[in-house]
Symmetry: D2
Subunit: 327 residues, 4 copies
């Protein structure tokens, strides 16, 4: 009830502070007998891992997942799957200066307001590092609905907008438009130089989602996706289909293009691709601290696999829920 | 698990199809010994009720709430509070033509895809009428955190934008800017005449919310608010604080104005007012059906008390949750 | 979170105080398209209703169930099913004397300790009348696993023991042994005359339960059945298979008879009949109040359909849960 | 939803198969700022650990708990606390013969019926080893209600009955009556020699439990305790207060002694000590396998700290739940 679990029939419970012993996840509700591929799991984690380009923090953790339970001879047992990743790079001294330093827009102050105690060495539970547990969960969720494909891209970074997504190739920044990416790269390097940071918008399309998923009242597919995304650090907005821009369309205009509904009607999937956008603010670490490495100037490149993972978790959960009621 | 309940320590379970016997709600987790005011409850319901102006459906239900349980001699007992509202105006014949008529953007088709059966006389569970149960829940939630004040207004209807909100007076359309409201009224009458409909954006500000509410991982305050709003019929988008527009701000710009964070940092309330925006699409009923009454050309005026109610439910729930852990 | 809901994929939320406006239940998780039989539902309720013999309270409520939602043209819609039963016989004056009269073994005192307020006209939520909501839930649960048959009988009332259960015919007191029933009838009439009450043990056998239901850790089938039964007013004990008497058997003796395991191994059903026993204490109302009608001298005859209902609810829930994970 | 979590405001999620990499638990809902004592935690675990006497399996695991999250500088952070214990003694070859050997009364067969796959090297999730996770949870639960004292003892092993509990000193077998213990020791050694096993009854008394805990309907204190105990491997029965023997008492006899109610009325604690009994069957491993070590002839000595832990978890959960609703 402290909100560290997400999902009902397929659920993840995440744990770990960024500078504690380990991050991890318990996955409950995985069907039994499913073959897993540890290399593929590791590859997903590496997409989120730091240190992959000039645009992500240089704090390098090996990020090797260790499976503690739920898998036997390469197959799921139906019992809870626990995966941990050790935190090997806890240079606490780097963080001593943060003890009484509350960054605006960061959880530092509110953690104290809530708990009266915090691990000042880093973001604790509020750290973006917590999201590696979600990526692990997303890997397993993907095995439940294998035909489902989630593809997230950078729709905007600062002022740079990707435009229509015409390929599945992503640049180092996650754009599918290579020219826009070049401009954004220069923009972010400039940000980094000045101890500055930038926000962005993630686009997400999920294909292969069966019709009939999502529940009519509170657990609408769009509602659970919204919660999934707004539970991500730095997320300030979410929209499905035509989203906020739909408010400018008259009913007849809206209904001319089924894509405006984002693959859901009445909150239930209709068999079309699910489409949504997720807004992330600029990171809160600024100034000298932001210049000296360890801090990303923009959340986007590394958040893409996390957004995909959260969508897969929501959909797999609803897939199992719907399956329960089918004859 | 069919998603008809919302909230944990303070929860509502809603039931009822728009053309069944009754709509209703069971409220679980109401503290005991709280004085209730049935007139105030009724007044809240009337804000959402149809037939109040030219801009809302002429289908008139008396909307008289009946309390079936949980209240004794005007006080809450701590047991579940059940309130029902009878559906007295079920003119089924009006709806026979809808039996095989699936409106784009509406739940008609997906309900069949999901359940293989539906009450074709109306929207069933997907009807906007389900939201009266939420308004009832919101009334009781408000009693738990009495200093909390939720104020929703029409920020946009079609092309008409309210601009800065400088009063707590709302027009018949929910604008605080009377001149904009006049323009929007003309716009909506025109829509209605042509069997057309319009979308809009709701603004919401909640004051009096204690710091420290919301949980660090999945049950962030912003995440639960997002789910609450996206669970509303017709909602396509949600943002907190600076929201999507924040993505254009650099980190230093963002942190200059605390309002950009919408009253939450790290997903936990910081004591500031909570601010958010919620996007609603144009209703799906169009053409001749939309002309002959019974259908609103825009969801906004009537959805305002529902948006307020959902916010109060989320906040009251988190208030009780936080209270559990305090010494 | 005030514990008025039970079950996960198939859940019931009960509400109502014994002397409030109505008792009722919201059933969530009912599969769609299932034909219901309102007469059969009513018949189940009448098995639990008072006033059927000299051994049950003469307080007569018509106990007519009204379905408010979730059913359309005789079939389930997949939406929440709400059923209420009005409390028509609230002779409050009878109860005024109870305002400050706390019966030992009854919830009177603890309700005040917990809530600081109570509806002194009757047992409130703690009243046995709450169990009619469970019987309604059990009716619907039974439709989910139609081959499941639950049969409860009086295994003991006071000193009178039924012995082996050789028929499905039950006496007015719920015995299958007619001679034992005669003795128990005389015993209970004597109790009633002296303002006395008696306890008893219910036997329950459920056939037609598929193998593989129940979860390995906390949600073992036996664990959820135990909770279901101990949640009944007056229940003080529960055992499966050989139960407490199993503790006197050596391992080799125990394993000779599969019935000792009560149809479950490792908490998971094995395809055998489920067997269990449930102990109920003597009712707490004694002396003059117990003589003048309105109070049963023993819970057993009327609790049998409730015990059956709770078992069916647990099994239906686990049936749907298991179904979710099957390919 | 696979039932690996227990509790609401204070919850434990357990994971691990007996012959996998590790056993462990995630504790969610621990209040922040509480000082923990790792030595005391380890001592609790050692009470349950094997190899402590001739009456427990000689399989020796060091059982060293490693805290992975949720604790910083000796205090709880309010974030999830994860503790693991490595399985260092996985002699798989010993178990190869068990691959197709389904022990009656054991989860071997039903695990296959449910999942279609199992880790045949041991009991998997059904292993008694899973209960070490519960003992860890119980340690933390105890810190939430520090005045609460749970004391479990062996009330019966095979034919040997402890009688009234007049001391808090427990023998190696958990009896408080030293003479009875001697007889039971001889009995169990004889069992072991013959590849035989024995059942028993655990007595439990919990003092220091505040009045007002437990909810009126399904989450009665006795109901949640029943589920907690029946979720233990080998448990076949549970009773509170006078339990099954109460069924022989008339109402007036029952109410003469408040202890008959076991510290609860209407399912809510009344401030008295909670008392209950829990029945365990003889272990399922018999014959040659049972002779050669590694298998306990009786569950009781080692299950005592587990029974205490489960009670503490239930009570701490209800303590926090009640606290949520207090002004």
């Amino acid at each position: 009830m402290r909100g560290n679990s997400f999902g009902k029939m397929f659920s993840i419970t995440t744990f770990g502070e960024s500078h504690g012993a380990a991050m991890g996840v318990v996955i409950d509700g995985m069907p039994a007998g499913i073959v897993i591929d540890e290399k593929a799991l590791h590859a997903e984690l590496l997409r989120r891992a730091p240190g992959q380009s000039a645009f992500t923090t240089s704090r390098v953790e090996p990020e090797v997942p260790e499976i503690l339970s739920g898998v036997f001879e390469g197959k799921t047992l139906g019992s809870p799957i626990t995966v941990i990743v050790r935190n090997t790079n806890q240079k606490s001294s780097d963080y001593d200066q943060l003890k009484d330093d509350y960054r605006p827009g960061h959880a530092d102050k509110t953690t104290m307001q809530k708990f009266g105690i915090r691990d000042h060495r880093g973001g604790g539970r509020a750290s973006g590092r917590e999201t590696l547990s979600r990526v692990i969960g997303g890997y397993f969720a993907g095995l439940i609905v294998p035909q489902m494909k989630a593809f997230a891209w950078s729709e905007r970074i600062g002022p740079h907008v990707n435009g229509p997504c015409q390929t599945l190739e992503r640049s180092v920044l996650g754009f599918t438009n290579a020219e826009v990416s070049k401009l954004a790269e220069a923009f972010l390097l400039e940000c980094k130089t000045h101890g500055e940071s930038a926000g962005g918008i993630v686009g997400l399309r999920v294909s292969g989602v069966p019709a009939g998923l999502g529940e009519p009242a509170f657990d609408k597919m769009k509602a659970d996706l919204a919660k999934a995304m707004l539970s991500l650090p730095g997320c300030l907005g979410f929209e499905v289909g035509a989203g906020f821009s739909a408010t400018e369309l008259k009913g007849s205009e809206l209904s001319q293009n089924p894509k405006n509904f984002g693959g859901m009607e009445g909150g239930i999937t209709n068999g079309d691709d699910l489409t949504m956008k997720v807004a992330f603010k600029a990171p809160s670490t600024l100034g000298e601290k932001a210049k000296v490495g360890r801090h990303d100037p923009c959340l986007l490149p590394r958040v893409l696999p996390v957004v995909e993972a959260m969508a897969k978790i929501v959909i797999a959960d609803h897939y199992l829920r719907q399956n329960a009621y089918l004859p």
